[in-house]
């Protein structure tokens, strides 16, 4: 054998992911949101999670509704198809697209107005059907694009510069999701990069619909310290339910079993490991999830983590019993029955 040639040190080898791509290739266009917007942090986390998981961008589809949050799919995964739909109507478009091509990985980004006000109906039905996709709500309790009106998730008694004081109780997106029989319900904080990324990866690996309510303060219209959707509040009040780690299916799973850990295996073989801060928290207990969310609301606490997960429930696509070839790819020989079939059916008329 000849000696291996000595390698000249390269300028600096770019870091590549599993499929040989640099992280910059997962970027999208430049953001047009306000400087310091929590939504941009979330986009950065999506880019990182997708890169680290080695997602093929052409297999990903991005969906959104209308609002600041819904603009963000233009700012990440530039080589994925995106559908910036109508206000509150992203769930139906996503349902149609994912049924048409069940090989696609769906990532939806919505806001609190888009999901909890105009889109609450479609949101709850998306959850009910367990359409396999990640549904991120970038939740700031305020309408940014129309300059500062209250949304349905705004705190009661909260004061905004133009809108005054909010007299109504808020809707809690995680509770709404649970009530609609969600199979994955989590909350995070835009400023908590580490946790958000783990949750995103787990949500992508989840077989059904994963609801991710991400408190993402509006730096322009809703960053008063007393708001539960402000940075100051988030940082001071965030109590993680558990420490999370995500072990993708392509890595060998070597987890030592601690007493205070729960492992949840997702359908693609990956594992979600929850290290409990609250020893009693069991994310497969729906009653506990309700109670925890309700208590947090009463105590004005921002509890983050996975409230509920149910990895085994069949997804919408499983229920539809479709052929393995995506509907969008079927050719005429499969979609036009025979002349004899028509004759038979006509004879029965």
């Amino acid at each position: 054998m000849t000696a291996t040639p000595t390698r000249t040190p390269a300028a600096r080898a770019p870091k590549l992911n599993l499929i040989g791509l640099e992280k910059t290739e997962y970027k999208g266009g430049d953001s047009t949101l306000c400087n310091g917007c929590g939504h941009d942090s979330i986009s950065a986390r999506i880019i990182n999670a997708a890169w680290e998981m080695g997602l093929k961008q052409h297999e990903v589809v991005k969906f959104s509704g209308i609002g600041c949050s819904s603009k963000t799919p233009a700012y990440f995964l530039g080589m994925s198809h995106g559908f910036n739909s109508l206000h509150g109507r992203m769930p139906s478009v996503a349902t149609g697209a994912l049924v048409a091509n069940q090989r696609l990985i769906g990532i939806g980004v919505s806001g609190d107005g888009d999901t909890a006000s105009i889109g609450i109906g479609q949101f709850k039905h998306l959850v009910r059907r367990n359409v396999p996709m990640v549904y991120i709500v970038e939740n700031n309790g305020v309408y940014g694009l129309t300059k500062g009106q209250f949304s349905a998730t705004a705190d009661q008694g909260q004061t905004l510069k133009y809108a005054g004081t909010n007299p109504y109780m808020p809707l809690d997106i995680c509770i709404e999701a649970l009530a609609a029989n969600a199979t994955f319900v989590a909350r995070s904080f835009a400023g908590d990069a580490k946790q958000l990324e783990v949750l995103l990866k787990a949500a992508i690996a989840h077989r059904g619909l994963a609801v991710l309510d991400v408190i993402s303060p509006c730096v322009t219209f809703n960053n008063h310290d007393e708001s539960t959707k402000s940075y100051a509040f988030g940082k001071e009040h965030e109590t993680p339910l558990h420490d999370l780690s995500f072990v993708p299916s392509y890595e060998q799973i070597e987890i030592e079993d601690y007493d205070d850990e729960t492992e949840v295996q997702l359908h693609d073989g990956s594992w979600l490991v929850l290290k409990k801060l609250d020893a009693a928290y069991d994310p497969t207990d729906k009653h506990l999830a309700y109670r925890t969310l309700e208590d947090a609301r009463k105590q004005q606490k921002l509890i983050t983590g996975i409230f509920y997960i149910e990895p085994e429930t069949p997804s919408f696509l499983d229920i539809l019993q479709m052929t393995d070839t995506p509907l969008a790819r079927l050719d005429e020989s499969r979609t036009r029955p025979s002349r004899e079939a028509l004759a038979t059916l006509m004879a029965g008329l």
Binding site: K56, H58, F83, S85, R89, L104, H125, T323, L342, L345
Partner: protein
Amino acid sequence: MSVIVQEPQTEQVNQLVVNDFNINVATANGSGSQTSNNMLIRSLYKMGIPVTGKNLFPSNIQGLPTWFNIRLSKDGFLARRERIEVMICMNGATVAEDMESVESGGIILYDDALPIANHRKDVHYFPMPVKNLVKAANVPYNLQRYIANMVYVGVVAHLLEIEMDEIKQALIWNFGGKTKPIEMNWGIVTAAYDWAQENLTNDQPYRVGRMTGFNEGTLLVDGNTAGALGAVFSGFTFAAWYPITPSSSMAEGMISYAAQVRRDPETKQATYAIIQAEDELAAIGMVLGAGWAGARAMTATSGPGISLMAEYVGYGYFAEIPAVIWNIQRMGPSTGLPTRTSQGDILASYFLGHGDGRHPVLLPADPTECFEMAGAAFDLAERLQTPVFVLSDLDIGMNLWITKEFEYPEKPLDRGKVLDAEALTKFKDAHGGQRWGRYLDVDGDGIPYRTLPGTDNPAAAYFTRGTGHTEYATYSERPDVWESNMQRLAHKFETARTLVPAPVVDEVDGARIGIISMGSNHPAIIEARARLRDEGIETSYLRVRALPINGDVRTFVEKYDKIYVIENNRDGQLCEILLVDLHDLGYKLVSVAKCDGMPLSARWITEQVTK
């Protein structure tokens, strides 16, 4: 058409009326009369008699009055006809009115338990001992109400001389060969027939007789069933819908037929998905999502659903996504008359959405055209990358029509301008060095090329949005970019004009009058033209089969002194659309419009043209 009428053998009536009268059956909704009525019309159809059945039903599940009108026409006229010669009264709530409605010389069969006053001297009365016959049949109590309607089938079969074997065959067909219900119903039909034979003197003039020459090569079917079959045989892969009268039976037909012919016989895996959405907003959203991702996607709805779909139809127009929307029109505005027919959504469908925008609209005239246009609509939607409407109505959709047998579609599916990974790579070379842009018109027809999600080519992705966009699908608010895109969409609509189904024209030498109409009015127009000819008025006829109209319509209008535009709505909506394109000829157009929820009749049309 050669018509051979076998002379029925009858005693003691001087002037027989054979195969040329109306039967009207008055019952209560939910009493199972549909089975009885279908048996009657089916057996008449199988005897070769031209028949048409119009179900006049209430928006109600049980109890409100319902009428089923069967017209027999030896001459083959299948429009609604207002006169009634044979009345069957089974509903006490309407019996007085029903008996008044019969023509002089007509006959009235009635349940003898109904509270009535037989005062008319100019009609024949035939009481039917419904209660006694049902009692004698010895069927379970819960079925008695349903079976009661079989009594009139037996009695009317005797009086009119309907072939009992055809009634038996219709019964077998109706119950899918299930012995128990067939026997139970047949028992009461024959009991009623025998009773009538023994107890009634058949001194009335109405008879039926077997015919040939008309029903061969036809089907007796409703338009929703036809449209459902059309979709199943023209490559639909996705449908989302929300139940609404009178469109639900189309989606349900698709569910049933697709399960039979679009699933793998072994694995049961489907080559389609049909989703009952939570509302029409979601139904059209799902359709656009699926169409965008590459499925052949459609929905079926009616007026109120169209209103809800407005925002996504506008989106589909602007973001250029194929979708097929069946609007089985019912009477609006608002909730309107949910179980009555109308052609009132022409303008709403053509112009649906805010901002500038128009949509191709197909206008089937009978179930056969529903079958054919199901495929044509998909081809157009995918070719033009835009929402396409098919405007049927309750009359076509839910009533039984004699219609030409469906021809197996030979034309390959048109999937439009879709670039796969390879075609995308070659695009630049194939188009003179021009880089692909999602909204770039390289062919000069206003239609750009699209890629589907999942295409493994780094250049394939684009961002779809309802906001301003450049030819390369990037966001733009520039005035020139906006306007040139809108002008291209207008140009694309001109391309649509050349692709949609052309009108059907029947021109008569020497005619000075033209008739323009559409859709379900067709049978009434045919009959009205025959009546007008009898009065010495020749007419030419153009039936619009799609919007936008093509040049044939202008040529037609130019040729005649006066054009009657006949339609089933208040405002003359088709006429208004014609005026947009033919404003210079507007002085020739006479709007003839009616909106009472009923299909137009030849009598009314004739009156409008001659007055």
